[in-house]
Symmetry: C4
Subunit: 169 residues, 4 copies
Amino acid sequence: MNNELQQRCRGINLVVFDFDGVFTDNRVLTLEDGREAVFCSRADGFGLAAAREVGLKLLVLSKEVNPVVGARCRKLGIESIQGCDDKAHRLRQEVESHGITLAETAYLGNDINDIPCLELVGLPACVADSWPEVFPHCHYVTERRGGEGAVREFCELLVTARRQGLRRE
Amino acid sequence: MNNELQQRCRGINLVVFDFDGVFTDNRVLTLEDGREAVFCSRADGFGLAAAREVGLKLLVLSKEVNPVVGARCRKLGIESIQGCDDKAHRLRQEVESHGITLAETAYLGNDINDIPCLELVGLPACVADSWPEVFPHCHYVTERRGGEGAVREFCELLVTARRQGLRRE
Amino acid sequence: MNNELQQRCRGINLVVFDFDGVFTDNRVLTLEDGREAVFCSRADGFGLAAAREVGLKLLVLSKEVNPVVGARCRKLGIESIQGCDDKAHRLRQEVESHGITLAETAYLGNDINDIPCLELVGLPACVADSWPEVFPHCHYVTERRGGEGAVREFCELLVTARRQGLRRE
Amino acid sequence: MNNELQQRCRGINLVVFDFDGVFTDNRVLTLEDGREAVFCSRADGFGLAAAREVGLKLLVLSKEVNPVVGARCRKLGIESIQGCDDKAHRLRQEVESHGITLAETAYLGNDINDIPCLELVGLPACVADSWPEVFPHCHYVTERRGGEGAVREFCELLVTARRQGLRRE
């Protein structure tokens, strides 16, 4: 981890995640009655637990209004906000209501509707298999793909940086 | 994009898609009671929205009569016609009823039953993982595989060409 | 196709398939209530239809007793026999009841319990991702993996050989 | 198989498996109502049967309390213990109740919560796609990934070693 990335990581207090393509591989299983299902990784739970332990706040912001988002986030014990057509607007509100700043916020996304959020936060990041337009807006790209442990990798990055920061103080 | 492809793309007013293998990875999940489910990509919605915005008409023609086709197309807001044993015949009817010509029509397929349609239209195309017999009939092959964003890639190609055309006028 | 393979293919009148790992990728989706689901390829239907057209008889022999096998085979219009603990014994019975010989039979499998059947038939074959012990018993290995079009590829091999044979007569 | 590995394998009487990431690819399919489903490999059943035949005891220890674990293990005829927050503690209890020693126990895992168990047993092992922290604690890494036959590969390793040991006696 280079110095600039370490500095950015240490200042983070809130981590915001897109759902589809980040917690999932961006695919959706469509059933005959229109219900949907998504593939997530068991690995992510360990990363979110570690992030919570060092005091990081966690939030999912999703454009989709879909019961699977709520179902998965409840299982992981992470707050989710769905139906965000204007994710950047909602992100500003949430950051304010948490009493922190955008500079203290990290965002992990994968697609073009994440770009307005990525442009606002202190640590903009995306998963390895993001849509091409997204990469230029990010300071960190996870090695893992969405739904294959990218959430855990990003959490571990922030946890490691925070622990190193505490040791130096 | 070379000049000939650009010319073909700019003239398109109707985009017709096969469903299985184009919106999906050509696999079907079979449940014990015979119901089926298919994997689609969340990415495709962005491409279809962009195509609709520039005025392209969109249509799904599927050989299968299957509730999953209707369910997925309703979610994406795209008209679907199922149970087309003779897809080329139905394609001619649809093109006529839309008041346009076959030359103004693009078709994205993946398998041998798409070939009669591909031979009729102005811009015949197929996904990266099409069945071998299909490629010789196509002017464009998407880099992405079916169910992994091929629909979006094809929409973006047409949208870009149309916008470049408008700028030159 | 070399000459020996062509000779073997032309003599085939009955094609017998294992189900799991041949029509599927050998994975099973386990639901909370113990029900199962499997992934199949839409591509296989075209191959089975072509095989039926040239007069080949088709049969699925499965060790598993599972509603998904019946559900998928009904959809494809292919007869299935489930619960074959001794597949070789059942194969002999079926071949006899069809009034043909084992030399006129092809078998496509993927795992060790297919070996006794592979040793009996005129054209023993397996899918690309078969278990290692299976390959030495086979005269043909499909390029495609189970659940990714291996059934279609094997059908097309037999159809092509039969058509070439008819042309020469 | 080198000599030391053979020695370790021959002494094993109990094989303990983690479930997620070992019997599965570590992904979970989340449905709208919060129910889950997982992908397993049909191949594993053959390995477990062979292990049982040579007298090996088999056990699944899972952190998750989830009906899919029980459903899959019932199908495979293998005992499962769920909800193990302290897997090492539970492992000690089980080993004792089976009347054997930790040195006679093998453990196949994939993630950080398996490490305390891996440190206790005579043959610690993990699947090819384990989380990086796990590998240094293992004497054997399967070539196959979790959910793609890793369980079978590990069983076959133990069965082969035991048979070679018997031949030498």
